[in-house]
């Protein structure tokens, strides 16, 4: 049986811990960041971390869930703040990704976490998979709203371009990856 732990109570110190862990885990990787370092950056102690998050795995899952929430809100804000309609709304997601990746070259935090933890933490893997499925459904939903044919399959194909752009921009060091993604998306939307 899979135990689903209750979410940690977000006391003030817990907030500082999660903020520090989010920055450190994303920037330096999860395995190479120890609990002592997180405690130091959060201005607290390991005792408080374990009181709030139970284990390193618990803190990692909280980090991934918070990051997913931030990222999804970022996309939804972009969509809500754009006058685009129809197929153009699909390009708004690419713009949101571009803005999200503007700072930093560390790539997708979820892919990075999967790279380190997929064989060691089922909970972390579950959060990563959920975020990737969210991307697929986001594009599929926009394709359906635009009245395009086979929106589910098209949404998955658009998600490939989305993920590929992150990889080629960061790990691949290809600075024009986002522009390439816009071209690829447009090519896939003209029938």
């Amino acid at each position: 049986m899979t135990i689903t732990q209750e979410p940690p109570r977000m006391t003030p110190a817990a907030h500082r811990i999660l903020d520090a862990a989010s920055e450190l885990y994303y920037d330096r990787g999860i395995t190479s960041v120890g609990m002592d370092l997180v405690a130091e950056h959060a201005g607290t102690t390991k005792k408080t971390i374990y009181d709030r998050f139970g284990s390193k795995d618990g803190l990692v899952v909280a980090y991934l869930e918070a990051r997913a929430q931030r990222w999804q809100k970022h996309v939804e804000d972009h969509l809500a703040g754009s006058p685009a309609t129809g197929v153009e709304r699909i390009l708004v997601v690419v713009d949101a990704l571009d803005a999200w990746l503007a700072r930093g070259t560390r790539g997708c935090g979820f892919v990075n976490a999967y790279a380190e933890l997929s064989t060691q933490s089922a909970d972390a893997t579950r959060v990563v998979r959920a975020e990737k499925e969210w991307i697929r459904r986001l594009y599929a939903g926009l394709a359906a709203e635009a009245g395009l044919a086979a929106p589910e399959a098209l949404g998955r194909q658009l998600a490939l371009v989305h993920e590929g752009a992150i990889v080629q921009l960061t790990a691949g060091g290809s600075p024009e990856a986002l522009d390439d993604a816009r071209l690829a998306v447009r090519a896939m939307l003209v029938p």
Copy 2:
């Protein structure tokens, strides 16, 4: 100044070490695999590892370079063994990727290494970037041979689908990712 170390002399023990490290690093991640574990799996001692590879970073770079060579040979063998011509040769690369990913769900070893090491090892990052550039040039070269317009830009766009398929298949847990990639590639090749 950047020191380029000479490649390790591949004595019999060095071969076993590199084989063991390749399997362990890819399966469990690089940071979480220690030198003791590599020595144990290779049936040798840490002394011999350091005699042959100098440091953990040296062993990691050797792992990535060997993996890139294996992967590129895999693709070239697929291309050489296929009767396809023109744009169909681009799909052969997707078939080669499908076969390469048939076993395992650990995704792209280079992206995984980048996730763990990009802020800590310039040498490892250089090997990762070289492999991603190789993919872009591979597709661009096939696009040029097929007589397609703007082959460089098109090659980069095809590389996005390629990388995205790996991510969505493994981290995303989307089993139809390779079929989606074939559809996306075909959509991008009809003008």
